[in-house]
């Protein structure tokens, strides 16, 4: 296997290890000698590509939320508007998902930490997740409207709808970590943050992915309502809706614009199918290596 020596070797402290010099084709990566990653130039290029794509997405998201172009006329919707709506909806869901992911994993770990925390926090979480998210959407909309942050109203509701799917799946995942693994962690002195990083986090990967899949499914349902803000704003008009696949679906249906409705529906189905094909299926296959069974 070809091994890249350039990218890390150029950084201070990441010179080529002695065992590589002797022809052993495994290298240390980021000072973690217990994980002897084999890296190729392709790995490094892929990593750079992913980081650049992530940075680009953050910039586009930032620009979008700083200057939302949500005004649209349902009587005059072009194919470009449908494409923009698809991108907007995706960004909203992606942002809500990121927040849900960051919040749900620590929350699940706190809840499942000990039998005592489970006894106290699990029923509370169970009640909270039972409250239908759309029941308090009018309050959320009024709150965010007052702050002139309509995008955030939609993102918040999608976030809430996604959160519990990941939390409860991860709680289930934490309980599948075998007792012998917990014992091994103690014996081999893998405790505290090291245990979280090296054992807990990888062990819940399959459950985070399954929970994420369920969260996105729930998100697609909620986004249709979350973008049609005018129905929740006192004396609201459709001009206050957020441009997205959800609002296009609802408004085109209300205005009997069948062609827009069909095009929007097709765009949504296409997007769901592409995400499933290129994101969830590879991730589900990838997650198999983290399963204990």
């Amino acid at each position: 296997m070809m091994v890249s020596k350039g990218l890390l070797a150029a950084r201070p402290g990441f010179g080529v290890p002695s065992y590589m010099a002797s022809g052993f084709q495994v290298r240390r990566y980021l000072r973690r000698p217990h994980l002897l990653y084999e890296t190729t130039i392709a790995h490094h290029l892929a990593a750079i590509g992913i980081v650049l794509a992530a940075c680009g997405a953050v910039v586009i998201l930032g620009l979008h939320f700083a200057n939302p172009k949500d005004a649209f006329n349902i009587q005059d919707v072009s194919p470009m508007d449908v494409a923009t709506a698809a991108a907007n909806t995706f960004f909203r869901m992606f942002l809500a998902y990121l927040i849900a992911l960051v919040a749900s994993v620590p929350l699940a770990i706190v809840i499942a930490r000990t039998p005592r925390t489970q006894k106290i926090l699990l029923p509370i979480a169970d009640i909270l997740q039972s409250i239908p998210v759309l029941a308090f959407f009018p309050v959320v909309v009024v709150f965010f409207t007052a702050s002139h942050a309509l995008e955030l109203a939609a993102v918040f509701v999608i976030f809430i709808s996604m959160l519990w799917n990941i939390v409860f799946t991860v709680i289930g995942g934490l309980q599948t970590i075998p007792d012998d693994i917990r014992s091994a962690a103690i014996v081999f002195k893998v405790t505290g943050l090291r245990r979280f990083w090296y054992i807990t986090l990888p062990a819940i990967v399959p459950f985070v992915i399954t929970g994420s899949l369920l969260a996105w499914a729930q998100g697609w349902t909620v986004v249709i309502v979350a973008e049609v803000l005018h129905t929740y704003i006192p004396h609201g008009t459709p001009s206050q809706d957020l441009l997205g696949l959800g609002s296009l679906l609802v408004d085109s249906n209300a205005s009997s614009k069948t062609s827009v409705f069909v095009a929007t529906l097709a765009a949504m189905i296409l997007m769901v199918a592409l995400i499933n094909l290129f994101v969830w299926q590879p991730l589900l296959r990838f997650s198999q290596r983290f399963r204990f069974d």
Binding site: L36, D180, S183, I186, F188, Y198, R289
Partner: protein, 240 residues
Amino acid sequence: MPSPIVFSHVEKSYETPPNYVVHDFSLELQPSEFFCLVGASGCGKSTILKMIAGIEAPTHGNLTKPDHVGMVFQSDALLPWLTVEENVAFAAHMQKFEAAKVKRLTAQYLAMVHLDKFAKKYPRELSGGQRQRVGIARALVVESDVLLMDEPFSALDPMICDELHLEILQIWAATKKTIVMISHHFEEAVTLADRVGVIIDGRLAQILPVTLPRPRNADEEPFALQVKAIRNALTVPSPS
């Protein structure tokens, strides 16, 4: 020279009010001794081993033990997302060994359990016996004086067990570690151990020395007599 492991009137309960699973347990394990614990399921053998490992603490009594032990588990307890080499190196790295030492010890112990050619494989790609060998290499790589084994061969077929018995005896001879092993098989205990501790209802009912020369042959009469002695000891009512 490793220090002995000494139990002095140790008791262990997981419940409040106490319901003891280990009662008044006193035992001194000599350095470099191969000691085997036998007893029925739920008699407290695993709890005794867990106390030596530091996984559980005694409720009462004193236990003198090293802070640093290696342990082989009944299930292999390997991390499925790491390769064979990474699983072994991971345990060494967690002891804060230097990278060069981690690398050297990993290669050394993988070679010792004859898995050097499988270093890049994932645990799921190995047989049960091979996975247990990885577990043994991982327990050895931490460079402790004590090796604990909790029914390590119970899920393996008899042929593989015989092979691993031979290997564990070779490793023991080479490393001079104190080995404490739990077994359900009396023949296994007689094949491997210097002394066999018989546990009944959380109490150490009897200690039987095994004085047969190694390698021990299960077809010979003295071996059968030792096995019979353990079986008889387990049928004796608890000293309580």
